[in-house]
Symmetry: C2
Subunit: 146 residues, 2 copies
DNA sequence: TTTTCTGCAAAACCTTTGCATGTGG
DNA sequence: CCACATGCAAAGGTTTTGCAGAAAA
């Protein structure tokens, strides 16, 4: 059983009767290579370096496909643009720090948060399936320049 | 020094040379009375009960004004609609539980989260100004019906 | 009277979709 | 060949903006 997202995508595509195309492969490759929070437009920019003709619609369609097979997630951090990020086992539960000065998004992981969400869930009779925690403020660089 | 958001708004409006209007007063009154997470369209619905002629544009403009003077915040919970909520001292730090079955949004507050964010901030050399924590899953009602 | 505000409609924005053409299996 | 995929452009949804008339200071 492979952990390579491109392999997983390939398997999924075949099993559901979809087709492997140059565009899909390229978009997926670029997306997983950039381990970042990209807007669709940014994914397109990267992809265009290899293929000028790929359309934004295809980027959206491929990103949606990646979400359907559990390889990507989208999220709006509040500026009206959806950001996409890979979902892999090791970072499925990571959280984010968002610098409100420079816009940089950094990931972090806290075991305590996992514990905390269980406590809160119990206290409120909720069944938590996943969580999201975001800390807004200034990153170390921007903190200096204040 | 008043704690009444309507009073704060009034003071702000006057101090910056803006004008007090029936529409602004009504929208603000309705918004603060509904202590909920409302879409702009929902604010409009409530407002229309008192004044049929108020436009959606004015609702947006007033909600933006409330954000500028720190009385409201907006956030996209992932369905593409911005939700607006009052920002007051007592609930400035609350967090959210979102039921992915029925869409219900519930607030909660945890002192431990406040502590946790400080620890994380220190560890990463970040200056946290505010945070957001969301737990996604099933509320007690929807949990039963599974 | 002067500046701001409103309502309307149009524009802007990101994202999705319809359609004719292209391409993988 | 047939079904799916693509690119383009147009449509879709929410939010913003330009403008002329209305209202507050």
């Amino acid at each position: 059983m492979s952990n390579d997202p491109l392999q997983i995508l390939q398997n999924y595509v075949q099993s559901v009767g979809l087709k492997t195309t140059k565009q899909r492969e390229l978009i997926a490759k670029v997306f997983f290579a950039q381990n970042a929070h990209l807007k669709a437009e940014e994914v397109l920019e990267h992809v265009r370096k290899s293929d000028q003709k790929i359309s934004l619609a295809t980027v959206y369609r491929t990103l949606k496909l990646l979400q359907v097979c559990g390889l990507a997630k989208s999220h709006d951090f509040g500026d009206g643009h959806a950001r996409f990020e890979p979902t892999t086992d090791q970072d499925a539960h990571h959280d984010h720090f968002i610098c409100t000065a420079c816009g940089k998004i950094t990931e972090f992981f806290s075991e305590q948060i996992e514990q905390l969400q269980n406590d809160i869930a119990d206290a409120h009779d909720f069944q938590v399936n996943y969580h999201r925690m975001e800390l807004y403020g200034f990153c170390s660089d921007c903190k200096k320049n204040k």
